[in-house]
Structure formats: structure tokens, C-alpha cells
């Protein structure tokens, strides 16, 4: 069954939220939804760009109290 996972990349400069997402995807199933939390504004562009490049499904980005929430679905 598809799961929803939080990838907490807050305060991560190295390796950073996108790397945390790449790692989390390895142990996820096709159809799982992942929500990346990031305090780095760069993630707002980097992460959707990578998601589209690889061919996963980008869902949406929201912001609350200085934390960006980037939602995606593993598509392959």
C-alpha cells in the first residue's frame, strides 16, 4: 500500500534536503508520497527540477513559518 513519508531536511546544509530525498526514495515504493521539509529556500527550485528530470511526480510546495514543504510522488 502507498505510504506518506516526511523527509526532514530542516537545518541540513550538507548533504542537504535534496540528497535526503534521494536517499528516502531508495527505500520507498512506487506510488508513495514524500513530503520534504526544508529551511533552505534553494530547495524550492532544486527539488522540483530534479523530480521532473528523473520523471517522478511533483505535487506542490507550501511554506509555513520559514519551512518549505515540497510534496512529490514516486513514479518509477
Amino acid at each position: 500500500m502507498a505510504e506518506r513519508k516526511i523527509v526532514d531536511g530542516r537545518g541540513s546544509f550538507c548533504p542537504g534536503p535534496l540528497m535526503e530525498l534521494i536517499v528516502a526514495l531508495k527505500s520507498s515504493q512506487v506510488g508513495d508520497e514524500l513530503e520534504v521539509l526544508s529551511t533552505d529556500k534553494g530547495s524550492v527550485n532544486d527539488i522540483p527540477e530534479w523530480i521532473n528530470k528523473v520523471g517522478h511526480e511533483y505535487i506542490a510546495t507550501t511554506e509555513a513559518d520559514g519551512v518549505w514543504h515540497i510534496m512529490m510522488r514516486k513514479a518509477k
Binding site: 530542516r10 550538507c14 548533504p15 534536503p17 535534496l18 534521494i22 534553494g42 530534479w50 528530470k53
Partner: protein
């Protein structure tokens, strides 16, 4: 109070020594006891592997006897833990012994896992163990030219290793007089050449200047060892003559087997460093799931925090401070220049231009590490 430290690497050793010094009186009076269980009687200075792969260090220089690094009063056993029974405050070891604890710290580190990528083990050279680093050096010595490709899996320990090995290889081929016959090609998983934005900003032009080419957004999917082709998750193919990899890592098998964390990464509170859901079990170093660099310096700063906190728990019944996410990394930029990056959860790093002075300091640190492990630096 029985304190049990599982793992005698960088983090476990610094913590044990730190605690032994803070608790001298309690150890003498029998009010506290520190036991360390580890998997080896030797302690390896892992950053030395990079130099081993380049022929600049020999294996004997990487090791010290673990017992010689520990303060008197620490009970040290080479007897790896096989079973963690957190509900009973007990562990069971390979020899069949059971150890009870009041407070336990898990510092079992991480290991490379090239097996996760089809074809990688057969095709690639790496330097994350003594054996593979030596094999890589031999392969380099017999290499006479062609395309050398560097790939990076995540997560891996030592975030600076991909850039360091690339710049060192550049100098290595120059020194051998075959630089004109070698094309170095670097790849990196995200959209720039390093995780740290400011490091990427100077490293990319540096690569351009040296003629090192690169692909970003390159996450290795498989290696076709017969045809010498790499394929990425992003759909890119690269041909290579010599493949060098920084493989993705996992935590130790024993962690996953005991249900302490998927892939061996233990869910850890990022400021208190306790294992989520447990007040008397802590973890530090590579095996945490905290989203920061898996580096010796991370383990060191975490050990400093835990040393203060566990000693305070013995003396006043509660911890006294939080870990702020501090990391410090040297970055070797070839054979004679280096810089460094320092950052924490709130403050991004701002590395300066590389200098010879920092390189010499890093070489000095390669020796000073043993003082650092004793908890004196």
C-alpha cells in the same frame, strides 16, 4: 550507574575518554562504570584511506591499538554486540555474554554498500576500506590513459571525499606525466558539483580551469561492466575506461537486524541525541539519521555534547546542553592546497579560497587525530 558504549571508532572513543575524565571520582568510588564493546582491537584513522589510494600513506600508518587510546578505568572488550534488548536495558554479544546498562550509547558507524548498484562491485575502484584503497592504488599505477569517471552514491561518509579524490587524481596524473592522456569526468547527484553551495561555487570554475568535465544531477542506476557504460536514474549514459566510485552507505547490519533503524540509520533526536522514544539510549556519529554530514568531526562534536550530558546525568540527574549541528570539514584541493567548511543547523558554511597553510594543517591533523581520539584536542 553503568554506562555502555557500543562502538570504538571516532565517536565512541572520544566519548569514552571524555566521560572517563569527567567521572574520575565516580569511577574510583564505583558509583559509575564505563564499558566499551567494539568489533576490533584496532582503531583505524579512516581519512587516511584517501592517501592510501594515492600512494601517500601505507596501511600501518592508519592504525593504533584501540586499548592504547583509552583512559584507564574504561573496561574495553572486543566482543561485538549482536542483540539489542532495549526493553531490558541489555545487549548480547558475539561471545554470548549479556551486558546490562543504565545508559547506552550506540556508535557503530557506517559501511559502504556498492552492492546496491548492479555491476558496481565488479566494475569500480573505491577507497573506503583498506583492501579497496590498496587495490585502487595498484589499478591507478597501471593505468596509462583514457576516461576516468567519478561517481557518487548517497548517503556516504565524508562529504568532501568526491571533490578531494577528483582534485588529487588530477595532480596524481600530472605527477606521472600522463595528464594529457587522461580525461577526468566528475559526476554528482544534485544540480551543482557539491552539496555545499559555496563549495560548489569555487569548485566548478576550478574544475573548468583544470579541464575536468562534469555532469550534475547524476544518480547512478547501473553499470554495464562489459561495455564500460554507466547509466543514471536521470537517463544519461557515460562511457568510461576507469571507474572510481564513492559508494552509497548503510549503517551496520546489526542495527537493521535489531529493528533499530531502516538501512542501519537510527532515528535520533537532533539536539538531545537520544534514540527516538528512549531516554537512556543515545547515539552519535555515522549511524544517526540526522540530516547532516557523516564525518569524524560530526561524531566528535556530538561526543563532546554527550560527554557533558551523560556526566551531568550521573552527577545531577539531568543533561545540561544541546547539540547545535556543528560540523567542521577540511577540503583538500589537490596535493598542496586545502580549505575548510564549518557550519551548524542555523549557520551555513562560508569556505575561503584554498591555501597551502590549511593543507599543511590537514597533514598535521592526520597525526593529531590520535590526540583528538584520546579526547585531548
Amino acid at each position: 550507574m553503568k554506562i555502555l558504549i557500543v562502538g570504538g571508532g571516532t565517536g565512541g572513543t572520544i566519548l569514552a575518554n571524555n566521560l572517563a575524565r569527567r567521572l574520575t571520582n565516580e569511577l574510583k568510588s564505583g558509583k559509575a562504570r564505563i564499558t566499551m564493546l567494539s568489533a576490533s582491537d584496532k582503531h583505524m584513522y579512516q581519512p587516511g584511506l584517501l592517501y592510501l589510494a594515492m600512494g601517500k600513506m601505507t596501511p600501518d600508518e592508519l592504525y593504533r591499538d584501540q586499548a592504547s587510546l583509552l583512559e584507564p578505568g574504561i573496561q574495553f572488550h572486543v566482543d561485538p554486540v549482536e542483540e539489542f534488548m532495549l526493553d531490558k536495558n541489555q545487549v548480547k554479544t558475539k561471545s554470548g555474554k549479556t551486558h546490562n546498562y543504565d545508559i547506552m550509547v550506540i556508535a557503530t558507524g557506517s559501511r559502504m554498500f556498492p552492492e546496491g548498484i548492479p555491476g558496481m562491485v565488479e566494475a569500480a575502484e573505491t577507497f573506503y576500506t583498506e583492501e579497496t584503497a590498496l587495490k585502487m592504488f595498484k589499478r591507478l599505477q597501471s593505468f596509462e590513459g583514457g576516461k576516468v569517471v567519478i561517481t557518487v552514491g548517497v548517503p556516504h561518509k565524508c562529504p568532501m571525499a568526491p571533490l578531494e579524490i577528483t582534485f588529487m587524481l588530477n595532480d596524481y596524473f600530472k605527477d606521472r606525466g600522463i595528464a594529457d592522456k587522461v580525461q577526468l569526468h566528475y559526476t554528482y547527484p544534485i544540480g551543482r558539483v557539491h552539496a555545499l553551495e559555496n563549495v560548489a561555487k569555487w569548485a566548478a570554475p576550478e574544475m573548468d580551469k583544470l579541464g575536468i568535465t562534469y555532469d550534475t544531477f547524476f544518480n547512478i542506476k547501473e553499470v554495464d561492466a562489459t561495455n564500460k557504460i554507466l547509466r543514471s536514474e536521470e537517463g544519461v549514459e557515460i562511457k568510461y575506461d576507469l571507474l572510481i566510485t564513492i559508494p552509497a552507505h548503510k549503517g551496520m547490519e546489526v542495527i537493521e537486524k535489531n529493528g533499530l533503524g531502516q538501512n542501519g540509520w537510527i532515528p535520533t533526536n537532533r539536539t538531545k541525541l537520544n534514540v527516538e522514544g528512549r531516554d537512556n539510549v543515545f547515539t552519535l556519529g555515522d549511524t544517526t539519521n540526522i540530516p547532516i554530514s557523516k564525518a569524524g568531526s560530526t561524531a566528535h562534536f556530538e561526543a563532546d555534547t554527550l560527554g557533558e550530558n551523560i556526566a551531568a546525568m550521573v552527577k545531577i540527574g539531568m543533561p545540561v546542553r544541546e547539540y547545535d549541528g556543528k560540523v567542521f570539514c577540511f577540503i583538500e584541493v589537490g596535493k598542496d592546497r586545502a580549505t575548510y567548511a564549518m557550519f551548524d543547523y542555523k549557520n551555513p558554511p562560508d569556505p575561503k579560497a584554498p591555501t597551502k597553510a590549511v593543507h599543511w594543517f590537514k597533514l598535521a591533523y592526520n597525526k593529531l587525530y590520535w590526540i583528538s581520539a584520546r579526547g585531548l584536542l
